[in-house]
Symmetry: C2
Subunit: 230 residues, 2 copies
DNA sequence: GCTGGAAACTTCGTACACGATTCTGCTAGC
DNA sequence: GCTAGCAGAATCGTGTACGAAGTTTCCAGC
């Protein structure tokens, strides 16, 4: 094998399978539009219009919408079309937090027990980044803060070492992602203070404290969201 | 509003949205073929050939395969194609059971605490049906027993009253569905005896016993699957 | 004001063109 | 003679365009 290779081959080696299709691009665009509510909940999604606006055919749009349906961000009715999922009702929000309370305290406990240094570094980086955004304006960076929140919790799940749980938590957080709750300045600062508490407990390898900190964070988060909804 | 309505409207009321599309049919067929391993793990799924065999065009097949990818039953590589997901490795199986241990004991506890009669009736019906199959031949009805197993656990989740958790458990069980483990006669009888223990505890509203019975059932189930894999 | 039905619109399915990938077979070099 | 490398062809997935099927809307008629 020669050491010299074409640029194409180099790229192939560097990125094992990130060959993006058109549908992937459409998916990303629509996903962001839905989470940011630039496409409002309940809005009907016309296939042809989306295709025209994005300068593609309807097949990639259909594929993207199917994936978004699996994510729970859009709903489909056969022969009628897709609509942006309505905002979650208070009952569903409770149920989502209920599930999170079953798995995330254990994630925190295991992350605290784990020896991996890199996990703590990643969490620290996320918190530092969020603090920088908070120092400016939580309202302006609501979207970025929401993404950072998701990363924080997913990162803990990764540190806990169970990929299946990580994937399912990712799904749950995706469904909740429109409730960034960082529209309120108070809520944003409170939430990230609680994140810091969790991080400190994990850093100190205090699994008991990590568990309890996560449990409290989730309970308080539920109350914050409920205050917003009602 | 008149009491008289057309047959069409009656049907619409009876079935809220079961307007089946071609893609749904294809999905069902492929899903069953994959779970039963009539399509073996790792097999490449040719789009055109499937379309020809099922007498449809490739669009419905593509849609069905996309949904199956979300279920984890097939994997896709862009510009290459779909392949039936390989059999789960021992580590992933452990992780799946790990997640089940986080949520299912609580499901059993809540189902036992719930007052709903119908939940217990449904569970009883499932167990009676399974016993009938077991009395004949567990090997011959391996597929039906696997489906009944899934229904049993999902039914408990429903009784526990959290739809979000029920949906996620359904996903987890789908991924495990190729490990029906009812190929072994012993394992089948053991598993359904444990199911009966759980049912009895729920029927007696003994939430502590239900929790513990579920926990033991899952631990033993993991060992049975591991014995099969190794 | 209500019912019935037709037109308009949208989605669903088919057929085909394009492009990427993979396989085959040939050639060059050892 | 054998292997590595490369070019061409066949294969298969992706995207486009169009026709078929179903739903919604609107208007005429009662």
């Amino acid at each position: 094998m020669t050491e010299q290779m074409t640029p194409r081959e180099e790229l192939t080696l560097l990125r094992p399978a990130p060959r993006r299709m058109l549908a992937d691009e459409v998916y990303e665009i629509l996903r962001e539009s839905l989470i940011s509510q630039r496409i409002p909940p309940g809005a009907r999604l016309n296939l042809d219009r989306l295709a025209r606006e994005l300068h593609v055919s309807n097949t990639p749009v259909r594929q993207a919408l199917s994936r978004l349906e699996a994510d729970g961000l859009v709903q489909k009715e056969p022969y009628v079309g897709f609509t942006a999922s309505p905002l979650l009702d208070s009952r569903t929000i409770e149920q989502l937090y209920d599930l999170r309370l079953l798995i995330e305290p254990t994630n925190a406990e295991r992350a605290a027990s784990a020896v991996a240094r890199e996990g703590v570094d990643e969490l620290t980086a996320i918190c530092v980044g969020a603090d920088a955004l908070l120092a400016e304006s939580s309202a302006e960076h609501a979207e970025a803060l929401g993404a950072a929140d998701m990363e924080f919790h997913v990162s803990i799940a990764r540190s806990a070492g169970n990929d299946v749980i990580t994937a399912h938590l990712h799904e749950v957080l995706t469904q909740m992602s429109r409730y960034t709750l960082y529209t309120s300045d108070d809520a944003a600062h409170l939430a990230w203070a609680e994140h810091r508490t969790i991080l400190d407990a994990i850093d100190a390898s205090d699994s008991g404290a990590a568990t309890e900190a996560m449990r409290q964070h989730l309970r308080r988060g539920l109350h914050r969201v409920q205050d917003l909804v009602n």
